[in-house]
């Protein structure tokens, strides 16, 4: 270890040189633009590019006291939990189904990921076409089975729209989660299960005592990055429902978009983003602190 631990002279700079390109890249494309978001959050800017007056914390106050903002949080939480739950269940299901390496499972593992590789707009077209309230195949099937007598309009329904959009997004993303979980499962050695078999543990007990704990790092990563990813998803919801009907699918990112580009309140939207980002940072902090698997 010593031979690697103490690099001397120019060698000490090497790691910094190696990480520099990506760090500079991210700083320029994310953090510098972020400065202008922070700045705008203190101005009354309307349409992008118009000159607003300095208003101090007014935008922050307005967001924090807005019932619409907290309503959007409720939808965002439903969105994140709904997606998390549905995707984890499906992904684990697939993971356990395809965990044994055979020719067939190898083939299936590759092709099951296909919903993830297609653009969101195509996903939206797929499901709009299936769920279409007038001539969607889904309605035809339900009517043929006499479950309903009139076509229903799930994407535009006040109660159903959020669950349906969650379902569609789950369809788009669970294959990716499944691959990651498969990756975790492949690290568990067979001997552990065999030993458990000898001890007389049933499959269910094995899952909770061996499989689940071995996926520590995976669950951690999915819990952190996956949650942030899914929280910030905008395009799927916006293309499918535009946040409607009557705000039923207006999650936080959709609300931010609407404030910025429909109501032309860039300052307000910036403040909303900053407040939201702070909440996410706090979440990430506690998640890393309490849930992170111990290193080494």
């Amino acid at each position: 270890m010593d031979t690697l631990g103490k690099a001397k002279g120019a060698g000490r700079l090497l790691p910094y040189l190696l990480v520099a390109p990506i760090v500079i890249w991210i700083v320029i494309t994310i953090f510098i633009p972020l400065f202008s978001v922070i700045k705008e959050s203190f101005y009354s800017t309307g349409l992008i590019g118009s000159k607003g007056a300095f208003v101090g914390f007014d935008n922050y106050k307005a967001t924090l006291t807005s019932p619409v903002y907290w309503g959007a949080w409720k939808k965002s939480l439903v969105w994140v939990f709904g997606n998390g739950l549905a995707q984890t269940l499906l992904a684990f299901g697939i993971g356990l189904l395809l965990n044994k390496a055979t020719r067939f499972t190898n083939w299936a593992r590759t092709w099951m990921i296909i919903p993830w590789i297609i653009p969101t707009i195509v996903v939206a077209i797929f499901w709009q076409w299936i769920f279409n309230g007038s001539y969607g195949i889904f309605n035809h099937i339900l009517q043929a089975l006499h479950i309903i007598d009139k076509p229903i309009n799930l994407i535009g329904d006040n109660t159903w729209s959020l669950p349906i959009v969650i379902f569609i997004n789950t369809w788009h993303w669970f294959p990716f989660m499944a691959v990651i979980i498969l990756a975790g499962l492949s690290t568990i050695s067979h001997e552990m299960y065999e030993a458990a078999d000898v001890d007389g543990a049933n499959k269910w007990q094995q899952f909770w005592s061996i499989t689940f704990p071995s996926l520590g790092k995976i669950t951690f990563a999915l819990g952190l990055v996956g949650t942030l990813w899914s929280f910030n998803i905008f395009d799927t919801i916006y293309i499918l429902t535009g946040g409607g009907p009557a705000g039923a699918t207006t999650t936080i990112p959709v609300m931010i978009y609407q404030q910025a580009f429909e109501s032309y309140r860039i300052g307000q939207a910036s403040a909303t983003s900053i407040i939201t980002a702070c909440v996410l940072i706090v979440y990430a902090f506690f998640f890393i602190k309490y849930v992170a698997p111990k290193e080494d």
Partner: protein, 440 residues
């Protein structure tokens, strides 16, 4: 030791940022005059994305470029979806176009961030030659100037399937009461009386506004941006709309532009309130003869008047460059020549209506195969568009109408009835409150 590194890193970051800032402040000078070889280049952005429109606009512009070798108009297709996010940013950073298509409320909005040029001279000379319709011009005239050249108008009418109405022995409605009665009678089994959009969208805004206009409630705000939305007649119009929704397909609240038309052509609905885009696809998609496409002006509500929404689309000038301005004037001269102009508006026959007297009589307009086939229908469209109105431009020009149109508050008010279960009066009061907050 460690802290030092952070300081260095931060310095690098801020150094980079200031270099970027420096670059940006230098740029406009090098970007502006591009006409090195004596050719004046004009960049035009339009938002008419369907391929047939793109193609026709290109033909017209190519024709102009060929006739004027010293001018080159470069047309780029954009999307209305980006008009509120990308365009202002583009204009501000010097990447914007010289000519930009617009609608009246977009002009009031973009005026805040862009240096829109008054077009009084160009308008005056065109008006003398071709005689603009008042309804097309006034929404662009305020603060002592005309801020865009109107190029085509869009008006709404009531479309009906005369085959379906005839079979039921009904005549096309002229009043709201008749409209409701006809819609009710034609709603049977798998067929619906009328297709109305009820989503939060511009499409819903527009159809709803046709009801406001024909129900005597066309003034939703005045020239000093006071909201006058909450009144009896508005409530009556919303009540009417939500009553009619019973006779509209169950997925109406996801409808935007295309769905009512698709239902209408499929024969699953008998009526729809929309603009002129119904002409070109009717025969092919419905498999019925042109005479089955019936049209009457928007029916009138009690205490209302014959009116519906009318949206004059225009082109704004965003460059102050004298040479470019001269070239642009030439371009408009060419565009409004009757033989070119008819071809231009027929990029989407029926949807784009002429805004000049000479244009509306032009041979090049009426000789289009679609227009000539649907001549009686086109005449109804043109007649009713002269009585049209546009919210925010009825009682003086409301400079803040953009913030009412952008979030689709007119449509959102309806959603409060259809999704949130409010009464018409409650919903309209809710709308009034939101609009007041928005213009503050």
């Amino acid at each position: 030791m460690r802290h030092k590194k952070w300081v260095v890193l931060l310095l690098v970051v801020f150094g980079l940022q200031s270099i970027l800032a420096a670059c940006s402040s230098e740029k406009p000078e090098e970007a502006a005059p591009k006409a090195a070889d004596g050719v004046t280049e004009i960049v035009l952005w339009h938002m008419e994305e369907p391929p047939n429109r793109v193609e026709r606009f290109k033909e017209i512009i190519d024709g102009f470029n060929q006739a004027n070798p010293d001018i080159k108009i470069i047309s780029q297709v954009q999307s209305w979806g980006d008009a509120y996010s990308k365009f202002p940013a583009a204009i501000q950073s010097g990447n914007g176009p010289d000519l930009l298509f617009t609608i009246p409320d977009y002009t009031t909005l973009i005026k805040e961030v862009a240096d829109i040029q008054p077009m009084d001279d160009i308008i005056a000379s065109l008006d003398e030659k071709h005689d603009f319709f008042e309804t097309a011009l006034t929404p662009y005239q305020y603060e002592d100037h005309t801020w865009a050249v109107p190029v085509f108008g869009m008006g709404q009418v009531l479309w009906y399937r005369s085959d379906i109405l005839n079979e039921a022995g009904l005549t096309p409605p002229t009043t709201w009461d008749e409209l409701k009665a006809v819609a009710e009678k034609l709603t049977t089994g798998k067929q619906y009386g009328i297709a109305l959009p009820a989503s939060k969208s511009m499409a819903t805004d527009q159809v709803l506004y046709s009801f406001l206009a024909s129900g005597g409630a066309k003034h939703i705000m005045n020239g000093s941006n006071e909201i006058t939305f909450d009144n009896e007649k508005t409530v009556a119009a919303y009540q009417m709309y939500s009553d009619l929704l019973q006779f509209s397909p169950p997925d109406s609240n996801t409808y935007q532009w295309g769905e009512p038309q698709a239902q209408f052509n499929a024969g699953t609905v008998a009526m729809a309130i929309e603009k002129g885009q119904y002409l070109s696809t009717f025969e092919a998609e419905s498999g019925r003869p042109a005479s089955d496409l019936g049209v009457v002006p928007m029916p009138v509500g009690e205490g209302g008047e014959e009116s519906s929404i009318y949206i004059p689309n225009g082109i704004m000038l965003l460059t102050g460059d004298a040479k470019k301005k001269e070239a642009v004037a030439k371009f408009f001269e060419y565009l409004f020549e009757p033989e070119t102009y008819g071809k231009f508006v027929n990029a989407e026959p029926g949807l784009f209506l002429p805004v000049t007297e000479t244009g509306s009589q032009a041979e090049s307009f009426w000789s289009d195969p679609v227009i000539s086939k649907f001549k009686p229908q086109v005449e109804v469209l043109m007649e009713s568009s002269k009585k049209g109105a546009l919210f925010g431009f009825t009682d003086g020009v409301a400079s803040k109408v953009g913030v009412i149109a952008g979030p689709n508050y007119i449509a959102q008010t309806l959603e409060q009835m259809t999704s949130a279960g409010k009464s018409a009066q409650e919903a309209v009061s809710w709308g009034q409150e939101l609009m007041e907050a928005a213009v503050k």
